[in-house]
Symmetry: C2
DNA sequence: ATAGTAATGTACCGATGGGTATACAACTGG
DNA sequence: CCAGTTGTATACCCATCGGTACATTACTAT
């Protein structure tokens, strides 16, 4: 029954353009004027279609995980835990090398009380991804017995976050790749060398751990 | 010759107060009004003493590395590479757990052309720290032969960056510590298990891409 | 045709951003 | 006491911020 003037732009295409801007400049580093310029629409159109800047960002975030971030979900389908981790880490390099920085890493750093919903949305997305990884690792058969899947998932996440920061700090793709490979070498060496009884290395079985020498 | 009215506040104390604000909100998330409020001075005093917001930030950055960030330089004095790395990683936990996020990580994400000098200053500081670590690792005797000190230094830096992001994303100190310990376990296991190049860990050269499906 | 609806373009809103002009207050050397 | 100098306080500058009012345009249903 409803008529009305038809929208003169494609919602998803506009979201992709907005994504690019948010990706490069972060949430609070992006102005609505920049968004409308990039999207090729006017402010009233933006507000009519997406509500406001914050809602637009959460829509962009959803498109991000289904688009550029889809590799992460796909990585979980790899046959072994090691390959899952490898795909995640190398995928992080590809993702952040092409356009420095990671949308959720930037979003987590959004400042100010008015950006709180944005931070929370980003944290929720990150948590969901990490939980999925943890579940996948729990089902894995190629990890040493006693491996704490939650901690390992968090560590992998930490490494990919670090890669994103390194990319944002100007590190080029080649360097990022070497860092990623080095990290994977460490992961793999532990994974295959469970019996590699080194003096202090193998606390793998226990959550008990090295002591903290710092305050 | 020169007289003049004496400054009514202490420069270093003011810098510390500014540091706290920048730390919590990042460079472009912090307004001059917030700064003056926190520092207990007026805008003209701030501009007279520090030049402008950007110069104030670089001064704060210098104080950061000599203050809260001093643990990083001190860590290099540890007797072994392993202990150096341990101190750096655990130090990152302490640093970022108390006040979520890392000043330089945030600064690297500062947006806009006018923040370019800030980004560059942060990148320079980070690079200097990493170079110092690399030099220290080159002198170490407890690393496997053939270890690439530059890559290892970059990886450690990547992990500490990741920890900062995790802290900013709301991870608590206890969790951060477990992640850090897990990372150290991997480092240690390889450190004794020389060049444990496992079969597959390296799909290396391939730029096989998750690829960005969006325009 | 005409009524109803929804998107568009222009032009604007108050609030806040970084930064400053100007007048005054507090110190120094003569 | 006075000139020179330098920090402080009030009050203001313009640009930009996120968000909107309003009149207009383009469509559907009757």
């Amino acid at each position: 029954m409803p008529g009305g003037r038809p929208r003169a732009f494609d919602i998803d295409a506009a979201l992709d353009l907005a994504l690019e801007v948010f990706w490069r400049n972060g949430y609070d580093g992006t102005s609505v004027a920049e968004l409308t310029a990039a999207m090729g629409i006017t402010k009233p159109s933006l507000y009519a279609a997406f509500g406001n800047k914050e809602e637009l960002f959460t829509a962009v975030l959803a498109r991000y995980v289904e688009g550029p971030g889809a590799y992460a979900a796909a990585a979980l389908d790899a046959p072994t835990a090691r390959e899952v981790i490898e795909r995640l880490v190398l995928g992080a390099v590809d993702l952040t090398a092409e356009c420095p920085g990671c949308l959720t890493v930037r979003a987590v750093h959004a400042a100010g009380p008015e950006a709180a919903p944005v931070r929370e949305a980003a944290v929720a997305r990150r948590k969901a991804g990490e939980t999925a990884l943890r579940r996948r690792l729990e089902r894995a058969s190629d990890l040493p017995d006693g491996t704490d899947a939650a901690v390992l998932a968090a560590l992998v996440h930490t490494v990919t976050d670090g890669i994103a920061v390194q990319a944002a700090a100007g590190r080029g793709r080649k360097e990022l790749l070497r860092i990623a490979e080095q990290a994977l070498t460490y992961f793999a060496s532990s994974s295959s060398a469970t019996l590699n009884t080194t003096d202090l290395a193998v606390s793998t079985g226990k959550a008990e751990s090295p002591k903290n020498p710092l305050s």
